[in-house]
Amino acid sequence: MKRMGLLLCICILLAISVTGCWSRRELNDLAIAVGLGIDKVGDKYNISVQVVEPSEVAGNKSSGVAPVTMYQATANSLLEALRKMTTISPRKIYIAHLRIVVISEALAREGIGNALDFMSRDPEARNDFYVVVAKDAKAIDTLKILTNLEKVPAVRLFSSLDTSEKQWAPTMAVKLDKLISDLVSEGRQPVLTGLRVIGDPKIGETKKNVESILSPADLQYSGLAVFKSDKLIGWLSDEEGKAYNYINNNVSSTAGSVNCPKGGKVTFRIIRSDSKVKGSMRNERPQIDIEVKTEAHLAEVQCTLDLTKPETITTLQKLAEQKLIDMIDTTIARVQQDYKVDIFGFGEAIRRSNPKAWKTLKNNWDHTFTNISVNVKAQYKIQQLGKVSDSFLEKMKEQNGVR
């Protein structure tokens, strides 16, 4: 009997202590933040969070309210601002499901380092969201735009960046840990993708934006922001962004066109691309060799080409190789002249191959980088032509000639 009593006591004690209810948080006590914008106002941070409106996202019915809501607060630090939001929000902001963090260009020009520490330190924050820079806009304004196809704008921003990186290549999906490792690396400076609002932001903030077929306002990724340490110093265009991704082996698929020998254009669908950056020391001087191997399918012909001949393919491959090399060369030259920072990770490449030489080089790397000689090699392989061989354009022109 005594034993039974003791067992019962233990059971009750265990039931109380092992249920894990100590700091429990019910789902309906949390405001799930999916987007976070960081602006700076004077010395303080203005934080805006996009919070999911649960009743709007769940199920198929919607009552006409916006699918997300936004809270903002200004404080000395990120956590203070997030906690201050409870004065407006009925629930505590929960950041474990963040999809995107938008940093305003103004703040990026001042330096992003301080704002990022919280994100890397807080155990609630996971490193699986993307970081982007709002181009010519405040971060809060980009998070106000309603979007179609994906109800939650932050999720749409996440997927759009993901897809555009995979299918179009000029953008770069950067997660926090990659950003931080670039920030601390001596041989590579970070880049972030730019996000801008196109169209009329006034309408974009209202429900009207998603009611019409062509949204009056939308969010678009464009260009790569170049950083020197943690300060934004300029932008790369889409074409340069693509070259950047070619160099860094970050192109999984994209489309690109070259001029035909006799005028007109031919377009390729790049199926896969693999690139290697090798650093070495030649005559005491650093030397970078870039080798890009690309496999492409012919996708679109807008000129006269005899695709039945193997030589045509060889010519096309040569043309495409040359174009790729030119694109990479001009991009590197532009960064060397205009920005003078090593965003390509050439320093890392030197460090990997010759750590001894790197020890002396790293002290003056930015300067060395501007004069470094880069040797680009490209290998283009065109394997498929699509469903047809010779284009119907050929036949069409012949007939037009006869008539």
Partner: protein, 368 residues
């Protein structure tokens, strides 16, 4: 004898392996990488070699008096009074280690998972289970190890396989960037945490039913555990990079957080965390058992079970005392702990061996 159980050599090997993995799985990548950077895996290989030599020395020591536990053989070798004193001093080692493990687990859970739960609540629950396990005796501990092993291996393999897509071999380069020195420095903790701490296994030498196979089992267990740890630190560097591994307090957990297969198999880190909960629990239980058994033998008690509860109180009270905050604790781990362990677990056994052989030669020369 306070312990009447017997365990098989298989159970012994498994126990050695799990204890080798122990808490090292959680804290070692950070400590070792902060010195050796991307060359931690080389540190690991050096450590494995040195560690196996150390384990060999332990087995030599264990063979001297196969019928006696470590505490009793200390007394036998060093004489009654001095031996008792040294044995009592040695017992501080398992005690402090148990305190350290409960602290580690508490720190880990309050940093990464349940930030608002008082660390004491976690520690008390943990030590309760440990006490419960120790009271059941060596046979049960060994069998628990056998039951946990498939679970540990499965979780570890899942973690490694799921992370392979994210591994970048470039992160291992350049090899030996700053020469061999930092690599050696990084191997100190790699030798101390998993391998040198194995000395406590000398306490259960008499309870293994095939004494001849002890050396083989000991080496096998340490080797398997060491390989697991080397794979782990290599994964940390391959996925997180040396810099992030050295900056993150619990790199293994960050590693588990990275698991993301096709956007649906993600956020499984709590499941993977079970892996080190199990290994830390086993290591802690074993050390706690050793402490209680050793104390009972030192005090010539009939059983050790009555010691388990008061010793548990001691552990709970000591855990906030060993370090006031996590910075202090990490510094302690990285800079002092390897030397403390080297003193208790390498110098001391070597001293014992030395004394034993000198005494024997002296005896032989007086006999002839």
């Amino acid at each position: 004898m306070p312990e009447n159980g017997k365990i098989s050599i298989r159970q012994f090997t498994i126990l050695v392996m799990i204890v080798t993995i122990g808490d090292s799985i959680l804290i070692l990548p950070n400590v070792s990488t902060s010195f050796a950077k991307q060359d931690t895996w080389i540190s690991g290989i050096i450590a494995l070699l040195v560690g196996l030599i150390a384990v060999y020395i332990f087995s030599v020591l264990g063979n001297l008096y196969p019928k006696l536990t470590f505490i009793l053989s200390i007394q036998k070798i060093l004489g009654k009074w001095f031996g008792t004193l040294m044995a009592a001093l040695f017992l501080i080692f398992p005690l402090i280690t148990v305190v350290e493990y409960t602290r580690e687990l508490g720190d880990f859970i309050t940093t990464e998972m349940m930030a608002e739960t008082p660390i004491l609540a976690i520690q008390i629950l943990f030590i309760c289970i440990v006490i419960f396990a120790v009271r059941l005796g060596l046979e049960v501990i060994a069998r628990t190890g056998e039951i946990f092993l498939p679970c540990i291996i499965l979780l570890f393999l899942l973690m490694v396989v799921f992370l392979i897509p994210q591994a970048e071999f470039e992160k291992l380069l350049p090899i030996l960037e700053n020469g061999i020195k930092p690599v050696i420095h990084g191997s100190f903790s790699f030798i101390a945490f998993p391998f040198l701490e194995l000395v406590v296994f000398l306490m259960i030498i008499p309870y293994i039913n095939q004494p001849k196979l002890i050396r083989k089992g000991f080496l096998q267990g340490a080797l398997l555990g060491g390989i697991v740890l080397i794979i782990l630190v290599a994964m940390c560097v391959l996925v997180l990079g040396a810099d992030e591994t050295a900056r993150t307090i619990y790199p293994s957990y960050s590693l588990a957080r990275r698991i993301n297969i096709g956007q649906f198999l993600e956020r499984v880190e709590a499941m993977v965390a079970l892996l080190w909960m199990l290994t830390i629990f086993m290591k802690c239980t074993f050390y706690y058992y050793v402490f209680n058994l050793g104390l009972a033998q030192l005090l010539k008690l009939k059983g050790y079970r009555m010691l388990t509860l008061p010793a548990g109180l001691l552990v709970i009270v000591l855990s906030p005392i060993i370090s006031p905050n996590i910075t202090y604790y990490n510094k302690l781990l990285a800079e002092y702990w390897p030397y403390f362990v080297a003193t208790c677990c390498l110098l001391f056994p070597l001293l014992l061996l030395g004394v034993y052989f000198i005494k024997n030669r002296f005896k032989r020369s007086t006999e002839t």
